[in-house]
Point group: C2
Chain length 345, copies 2
C-alpha cells in the first residue's frame, strides 16, 4: 500500500490539489459537491493527512511537550493522565519526556521538545535543578510554558500547584485538634519549594496554637519509607517524647507506622500519624492512613485548560502569569483519630 497524497485525490477527480486540500479542511468557499466527492475518494484511497507536512507549512504542530520527573510515581502519572485527556479533547497530542529527576536529562528533554517544534511545554521540574537557563530560553523564544506542582519562581510562567503551605498547616492543625501536642515533622534534605511550604505550614500551625517548636523534632532526610522508620527509632533512642508525626508524604508515614507497630506503640492511641499525597494504599492499610489529597487528576485538567487558553493568546508572556493554587483536601482516617479510634476498632 503506497502512500496517498492530496495529489492522488486531485488526479482521480481531475481537479487541482489545492482544491482537494481546501475540501479536506472544510474551507467555506468549496461547494458541497466537491467536498463530498473529495472526501469520498479520500476514504476510498485510504488517504491520511500528513501532519508533518502541514506542521512544517503552518508552523503549528498541535503537539504539546510534557516533561515530568517519572511516570513511575503515581502522582505524576495521574496528572499526565489528566493532561492527556483534556488535551486530546482539544485536538492536541502529547509528546512525553521523563527527566528521571535529573536536570541534565531535563535540559536534553527541553531541547528535544523544542526541536520537535511542540506548540508548548508543560513541565514539573526535576528535584535537583539549580540554574534556570533552559527554562528561560523557552520563554525567550515566546513558546508557551506552564508548570504544575513543582514550578520555578524566577520564571514568569503560569502554574497550577496545590497550596502546600496550607496543606502542611491543615495536617498539623488537624493533629492538634485531635488532641496531639508533641508533633514531629519529617521533611526533605533537598531544597524543594513544595516541601519547604509544607514545613512552613507545620511551623505556623504550631505557633498559632501556642505549641513550642522543637528543632530536634524536625527531621530532614530522603523521601522514603525507610527514613520514616529511622526517625521513629531515633526519637526513641534519644528519648524525645512525641505523640504525633506529620510526614511530607505517605510512604514515609507508612515507615513511621511500621516502626511504631514494631515497637508496640499503638497508632493512633499513643501516636497519631498523618501523611501527604493520598496514595492509593492509604485507605487499605491498617490503621487507614490520614493524609492530604492533592487533587492530582484535577491538577492535570486545570493545567491543560489553562494551557489551552494560553495557546489562544498571541504574545504569551505579556500579561502577568496566572498562578492557580488548588486547595489541599484533608482526608481524615484512622491513623490520626486518637479518641474515636478505640470505638472504631
Amino acid at each position: 500500500m503506497k502512500k496517498v497524497t492530496i495529489l492522488d485525490i486531485a488526479k482521480e477527480l481531475d481537479i487541482t490539489f489545492s482544491t482537494v486540500a481546501r475540501a479536506l479542511n472544510d474551507h467555506p468557499a468549496i461547494s458541497k459537491n466537491t467536498k463530498e466527492a473529495v472526501k469520498a475518494t479520500a476514504e476510498r484511497l485510504g488517504y491520511r493527512k500528513n501532519k508533518i507536512a502541514s506542521s512544517l507549512r503552518s508552523g503549528k504542530s498541535n503537539i504539546i511537550g510534557v516533561l515530568v520527573p517519572s511516570l513511575d510515581v503515581s502522582f505524576f502519572s495521574s496528572v499526565v493522565h489528566g493532561i492527556e485527556s483534556v488535551m486530546n479533547q482539544n485536538g492536541y497530542s502529547i509528546l512525553l519526556y521523563q527527566s528521571q529527576e535529573s536536570f541534565k536529562k531535563e535540559d536534553k528533554g527541553i531541547e528535544t521538545l523544542l526541536n520537535s517544534r511542540v506548540d508548548g511545554i508543560i513541565a514539573s521540574v526535576a528535584i535537583n535543578r539549580e540554574d534556570t537557563r533552559t527554562f528561560e530560553d523557552i520563554v525567550a523564544r515566546n513558546i508557551p510554558l506552564a508548570f504544575f506542582d513543582r514550578s520555578l519562581d524566577s520564571i514568569q510562567a503560569p502554574s497550577v500547584t496545590i497550596d502546600d503551605y496550607k496543606g502542611g498547616y491543615m495536617a498539623t492543625e488537624h493533629l492538634i485538634q485531635a488532641g496531639y501536642r508533641q508533633i514531629a515533622h519529617i521533611t526533605e534534605t533537598r531544597n524543594l519549594t513544595i516541601f519547604k511550604e509544607r514545613l512552613n505550614g507545620y511551623l505556623d500551625a504550631l505557633k498559632d496554637y501556642n505549641l513550642p517548636i522543637r528543632e530536634e523534632m524536625i527531621f530532614k532526610g530522603n523521601l522514603s519509607l525507610e527514613f520514616g522508620k529511622t526517625c521513629v527509632k531515633e526519637m526513641t533512642q534519644r528519648k524525645i517524647s512525641f505523640d504525633a508525626i506529620f510526614t511530607l508524604e505517605d510512604y514515609t508515614a507508612m515507615g513511621v507506622i511500621q516502626q511504631l507497630k514494631e515497637q508496640q506503640i499503638s497508632v493512633p492511641d499513643q501516636v497519631g500519624v498523618i501523611g501527604f499525597a493520598n496514595e492509593a494504599f492509604g485507605s487499605l492499610v491498617t490503621p487507614t492512613l490520614s493524609t492530604i489529597d492533592q487533587q492530582t487528576n484535577r491538577m492535570g485538567e486545570e493545567i491543560a485548560k489553562l494551557f489551552i487558553n494560553m495557546l489562544k493568546q498571541g504574545d504569551f508572556y505579556k500579561n502577568s502569569p496566572k498562578k492557580i493554587k488548588l486547595e489541599p483536601l484533608l482526608i481524615v482516617r484512622e491513623s490520626s483519630l486518637k479518641y474515636v479510634s478505640s470505638t472504631l476498632i
Copy 2:
C-alpha cells in the same frame, strides 16, 4: 528572537546551507574546520534543528506512538515509564495516547498517530475491542506494531506479555501447597485473554492436584474492590465452604480481605488470599498481600528493545513475529501463609 535556520548560519559563514546541514550532521566529507565553525555559529545564533522539516524530508520522525488504556492504572504507567526510558536512550520520543478503555477512542488514537507519521506503534488494547480492522491497517501499511500485555491474537505482530496461565497456576498451586483445599477464584465478566488465561491456570492447578472444580466457587464480575466483598458475602450467604481465594488482581483481593475481617474470619488462618499484579499497597497492608508480580518495568524495557530491533529491519512482517512471555513471579506474603502466620503475628 526569530527562528534561525541553516540558511542563516550559511550566510554568516559565507558557505552554502547544504554544507551547513552536513556539518551539523557530522557528515564524514566535511573538514574539521568548517564543522567547528558551523557548530560554533549555530550555538551562537541559538540554532535548533527543525525536526519537522527533517522528518518530512527523510520520512522518519523518530517518534513512536504509545497507545494505552489509561495512565491512571499503575500497571500501564509503569510500563510506559520503562518504554520511554529505553526509547529515549535510543533517540526516540514518545507520542502518548490513552484509549480510556474505549475501542472508538483507540481507533481515533491510531488514526492520529498514523497521521503524525510515527515510526511505529506500541499498544495495549482496550478492554472492549471487538473488530481488529484498525490494527490490521497498521500492519497493511507496513508500519511497525507491537503489543504488550493485552495483544490481539489475529494480528501477526510481536508482543511482550506475561504468562498469565502460568501466573494463575502458580498462585493456585501456592495456595494448595500452603494447605488450602477449597479455593475460590474471582475473575472478569469481560472476555479478555489475560483473565481467561489466569482462570485456566487456576483450573489446571486444581486438576493436577486432584481437587474438585466447583462452578459455584468461580465468580465473574467487574474488576473492583467492591466485587471482592460481594463474593465473600455471597459465599457466606449461600453457605459455600471455602478456605482460600485467588483473585484476578490485587484490589479485588483487598475487598476480599476487608470483608473477611468484617466477618471476623481470620486471614490467613481460616482463609488464605492471593491477588495478582503486585500493586504498591500489597506490602503495606495488614496482613501483607501475597500476589503475582508482572514485572512491569521489565515489560516496558523488553517491548522497547524488541521494538527497536524491529525498526532496524526492512520488511517488518516478513518473519513470524517474536512473542516474548515473561515469567510471572510469585510473591509470598502473609495473606497466604496458613501455618507460619501465627508465629509471624
